[in-house]
Homo-oligomer: 462 residues x 4
């Protein structure tokens, strides 16, 4: 989330981060800029807990970038909470990074071998070092050079004393939307944040595009060679908020259609369709519509239960899920229940939900997942677990159904998903297919040897 040219930019950023909270709950930070001076605050925790009026009040200026952390690389430590900032020869720079740089380790080793020190374990810090090493004359050129070494997924906001630069990697793995607010500009991972702060959506930043916003307005360049677009299909399925729109496609509508198709592909005789709230609601409505079964709230979610609670030492089982979700007995008792969720990762939550529904009297429990089985880990910024923990990687569909205790289990077929999204091209679907658009293991082999040769040689004549 970034803001340029709007009074109280840090407050606008803070409000936007609230609506992006689902993208990361580990930490939050904002860096603002006023009169060439940077103001910053970061801490571990949720946006609402990290920032009070004092903190927001101290983040002066009409330009700011913010971040909510969801660790895919680096430990969950204060030093890794973004935006990262540093000073280098040309001044100050702060950076918010969404994604995952697959050759970060190689770059770090290379940078260290040339004398760089690292104060975080985040992959984002390499970008700061690459920027500082560049001998290009302008900031934009330095940033282009720095980014040219990166492989992987990055949607970035980079702030200097006088500009805000938004960049999306050439494959466009992770989203980044652009809006206008008053005379200023707002950039955010999802359009829902633009809506919240009252900004008008302009469009999404294109894969490989760099948008430079300064006092002269917004300039778009595309400095990187053209590559196939590979936008993350998992954002549509699971990660983004339903009121977000990607490429003109409403996330809610996509999920509703997934539900309809699921009803056709995996029909079952039943009495009621219920969602796992709130993630499964859109798909469940689609399923109910297509199947003609009644839709009901069979599980309700508590709005007050935070992330931690204290369990008795002799614990009644499954308190965690029971505090968050409670069955409505009158809806499920004696019924054949179809329960719809948006994904099934490890299987542990589904298992608890099935048991909870049976305890509430459900006669049959049919689990339907409005997505294909997740069989591979993401290396481009979604924190999927190791493949060994992915239940669809290690078990057949029948085994999973037995494990979670459902009468039947059905998934959305991969082909149906592609069909509904208008074809496979343009999307990264590695988590469902194992086809990785950017190789991970042997990545970055080519670029490495001559890294920085351009910008270091001139230095040696200092």
């Amino acid at each position: 989330m970034g803001v340029f040219g709007v009074e109280e930019a840090s407050n606008i950023t803070y409000l936007g981060l609230h609506s992006l909270q689902h993208r990361g709950q580990e930490g939050a930070g904002i860096v603002s800029c006023s009169d060439d001076k940077f103001y910053q605050f970061r801490a571990r925790g949720l946006v609402g807990d990290v920032f009070g009026a004092d903190e927001i009040g101290s983040l002066h200026g009409a330009m700011a970038i913010g971040h909510v952390r969801y660790s895919t690389t680096g430990e969950n430590a204060l030093k890794n909470v973004q935006p990262l900032s540093a000073t280098y020869r040309y001044g100050q720079v702060a950076i918010s990074h969404n994604g995952n740089i697959v050759n970060a380790k190689e770059l770090r080793t290379q940078l260290e071998s040339e004398g760089s020190i690292f104060s975080s374990t985040s992959d984002t810090e390499v970008i700061l070092h690459l920027l500082a090493r560049s001998s290009q004359k302008t900031f934009v050129n330095r940033l282009v050079e720095a980014l040219s070494y990166l492989q992987g997924a990055y949607s970035l906001l980079v702030m200097t004393e006088n500009k805000l630069v938004a960049v999306r990697d050439p494959h466009g793995f992770r989203p980044l939307a652009w809006g206008r607010l008053g005379g200023g500009h707002v950039l955010a991972s999802e359009s829902c944040a633009l809506d919240l702060v009252g900004a008008t959506v302009v469009r999404e930043i294109n894969p490989g595009e760099m948008l430079i916003v300064d006092k002269n307005g917004a300039t778009s360049i595309s400095p990187f060679g053209r590559q196939d677009t590979k936008s993350c299909i998992f954002e549509q399925i699971y990660f983004a908020r339903p009121n977000t729109v990607f490429s003109g496609r409403s996330v809610y509508e996509s999920r509703y259609q997934f539900g309809r198709t699921l009803a056709k592909e995996c029909a079952v005789a039943a009495d009621v369709v219920i969602p796992v709230p709130d993630s499964g609601t859109a798909a469940a409505l689609g399923y109910a519509y297509e199947s003609g079964l009644p839709f009901h709230q069979g599980l309700i979610r508590s709005h007050y239960v935070g992330r931690t609670f204290i369990e008795p030492s002799q614990s009644i089982r499954d308190f965690g899920v029971k505090l968050k979700l409670s069955p409505i007995r009158s809806v499920v008792e004696g019924k054949r229940v179809v329960v719809i969720d948006d994904s099934l990762v490890r299987g542990t939550t589904s298992r608890k939900i099935v048991r909870m529904l049976r305890n509430a009297g459900a006669k049959e429990v049919h689990v339907r997942i409005a997505a294909p089985p997740i069989i591979a880990s993401c290396f481009y910024g979604i924190d999927t677990p190791e493949v060994s923990e992915l239940i669809a990687h290690t078990m057949s569909q029948d085994e999973i159904s037995t494990y979670i205790g459902s009468d039947t289990l059905g998934y959305l077929p991969v082909v149906s998903m592609h069909e509904l999204l208008g074809g496979r091209s343009g999307f990264c679907d590695a988590c469902f297919t194992g086809d990785y658009p950017v190789p991970v293991a042997d990545v970055a082999a080519t670029h490495q040897l001559d890294l920085f040769s351009a910008n270091i040689e001139p230095d040696s004549s200092d």
Copy 2:
């Protein structure tokens, strides 16, 4: 919430309070008892914020009572957070009170005139004083005597060193449910808390019943004269969680039926039915079912937004409601939308929601409330505002519709509500009708003069 005879009673109580959090967000407290010693902790805030592992760990014993505060009388100050506890001549006593004692002020004046000092401004403290003043020989008799002076609504849990007593006032205004857990007993305002901790629901405590739980088991007495049952109809409509069951009637089911009837009573030509999440969902499903209109999620609710946030000084309007609720444009754009909520109190939130839906492109917005207009304040424990702030008290239905900006506005008729709940008798519906079962203004006039004459005279021969 109270627990007797279960290890780690304070932890069970704490978990139950989580599921009752919707009943009060101002403060929370637990008093436990182990080996004749009371342990207590109270603070302002939500259950999850008030208690950490240290606090729960320090509340020893197999008996405990807890409370979530929602102030109807007394300021929102630490000294008013319950359970209240005190020592008196026979030992220690702690009390959790749900309801509102309408003659508390008179009793307090009377007690003060006889030399009592008050350390809180809560109406509950008078019960402690009355108990201490009683000259009856047994605790139960003292409690019966004390309660005989009270007028109004009370569901109480009273704990001494060796017993837990549950009482519901003779009219049964406020709910109180009884369950068993292992060899012990659990009491809670709503059955959802019993479900959560894995207790088996026994039944509700009857109006006027006193249940005494001690090491000899549970004994029920009905020491108060029989009076008409007047259980709160607003619990069904609004206050209770949908997975709670009152008198065999599922709250979710009641609300669904309200929605169906609403569709019949206030039909309108429209394209989509959406609920105000999460309170309007059950009724909206009933409305959609009956009307044949499609049901959709047109508004989504954020799970991360707490009670406070920091607004820019030049505020974009309505940030509060926008942080909590966001419209899904693809659902409402160009549509005639019926939006269902469970109540309309001051009209300010509805006004914001109507505007939000219109901004998201709704062509028409029809507001339907799955309850009758609220025209009178509650004096029995629900924190409805002064009548002057009740929009249905001061405006006609048309005026309200104009105020909130809706195309049409419809309420559930009072008679339909009664019909659906099986008749008017047994319920207090004062908020919808203005018929107060216990007079408020001149209440308690009879009892007052001879108050305590019985138990004070013996003292003078000490």
Copy 3:
């Protein structure tokens, strides 16, 4: 500490409490009054930690009383932090109590038998109850009646909506000083607090005097029968700050003279006199002057070490005292050292200091105590330990010297102490002699039966 008729009374009170911090470190509180409304804040901890600008700013009004807690009765819990306040039939009242009511337990039992409930375990709460029970027509008469039941030591400040009343018990055990500030009045346990806030000392409140300060000015009455003055001699010796003046006698000067006499009474051949800082400094200077020996800082005190620190599990011994006091080797090495302290209670600290000095190279260590041996516990407000923990109660002087490891040990003789303070009469010296002016064991036997008969009988005709 209390203030009447001075703007920002709570801030003046707060500053005064800082200078009385040595009188109690367990908790602090202030209650102020503005326009008949009481504002209050109390918490456990030091004055500087308890109060921030927000707390002080919220304590409105030109009248306030404050307290620093040092528990002699009642647990160290929030509920016992003073000033206590309550409402009763005639309005609000707050009270700060310095001292110890020896018949508090009997009074409490009596009050409970008449139906009072107690919300603290502090002996001060009985005063509130007695006040509320009185049927006298004026506040002052009610207070006189309430206090007439008390036995023991009390210096009180009592605040109502329109008056501040200062009272000292008839024996005058505990001090209480009166000053003027601008057009207002300030009352404090020690004159040092008056000095700090810039008030002019008027005089001490006399034993048995009640000073009533209201908008008409200050009125003095002496409602209690005349009794022998028994002001606490331990205040002079140990408790009060050296810049406090009692009855025209500077505490610093008294201690200096104690040191001089000690040098005469317990002379020893030595090379250097050092104080235990800061309590022994005045006496050590007197000792050095009289003995002709050089005075040096042989021990220095850290200003940064708080009350708690974390010790290694394999602890180097005596970290506690070493963090607070450090020897200066160049002062004591190879020397015969006389070390002066103001008291020797359990002997544990002296033992550590002697060892510390020997480790720093002292050839001989002679301990001199500028007070007589403490052989009896205080029941009037000083927190001396049980007699069994008083080393001078259980050991002879030689045994103590052996225990603490000193070469010689000397105390100020009781007769010298009396001589220096102008005779024995007027002082309570129970801690040094065991002669208790108010009997403790069988106290209050006479008053008890007819307690409250006067004010309760009229109530029964209500």
Copy 4:
């Protein structure tokens, strides 16, 4: 403060930091090492506030370094609290720095021009970068190379996964003492910290010495060319604790002798000598001894007043100093008072003390400073203000006396100071004389151009 080879090294470090708290109150940190892993905690505030049992418990291992921050360069921000740590190509390194690197800015510019990024504004971070840039084969050689670029004052502790290196700059501006504890080693700025933890003092680290401690024991090297020793004379006068010993010279003894000489050089007819506690005590005793005047405690210091307090908006003047210091009227009333302090920097505190003494009745107030006038700022690690704020830089002695309101004012002559410390050579006395041993303005000009040429050229062939 650093510890090697002692169990619970972080706890030992923590205790030592307590006794060095006078050296810095802005922040504190500890980095420990166990099994090649670094554990760290830093925060703003005092040692006792920063560290709790949890923090200390989480800092595992038998090696640790700690730091108390007192900012001479860099803002007072969390990012500047030391020890600083980072990873670089050879692993992890942490560093505690006492002193001030005068060419830090030039080095930073140079490093930035070669692509380094800085995450703090502390001058210490340049050392980490220089270390990372070095192409030497061993850690010690890299450290030697890095330090060879530094100009100015530094006593350093540098920790890697397997060694603790202590270094003092060639001039030896800032102190550093070495001790043994059990089989391990302890290093600290002052010997008082070694005493506290029970370590035996070995000796001070010599100017220009590097002591390498690892599992093979301690090795001393002197890799830097010999330069004149310039140890800080201000440590003796003011900064160090009186129980510290430098070069065999007790700080207490030095100050006592300064007082004696001051009495000879600036005699005045008076009745009593009093110190400004606690800093002026040693000198005041010397003054009293030499002058034959009685020494008394005329000012007492509160042990409870923290760094902040809340002043009334209509402030009684000088609350700050009055809360910390209070006059004893009986000592100064009607007397001619000589008040001794150890330094007079801006004159504001002295002015308040003189007024306080006069208000307490002093007939005459003669201020004597046991040090020469401070006429120049320190650039080597003592946080003296800008020269424009140094009263002795801008006013004559008579003008100062008038400003602070004293009857007379006397300083210790510079020559006397030198005489008492055994000559001028070996000391930096720039603050008293303006003679700076290391030029500050045009420093580091020579080294700069070829900086890193050695270690960067090989990189370009990578």
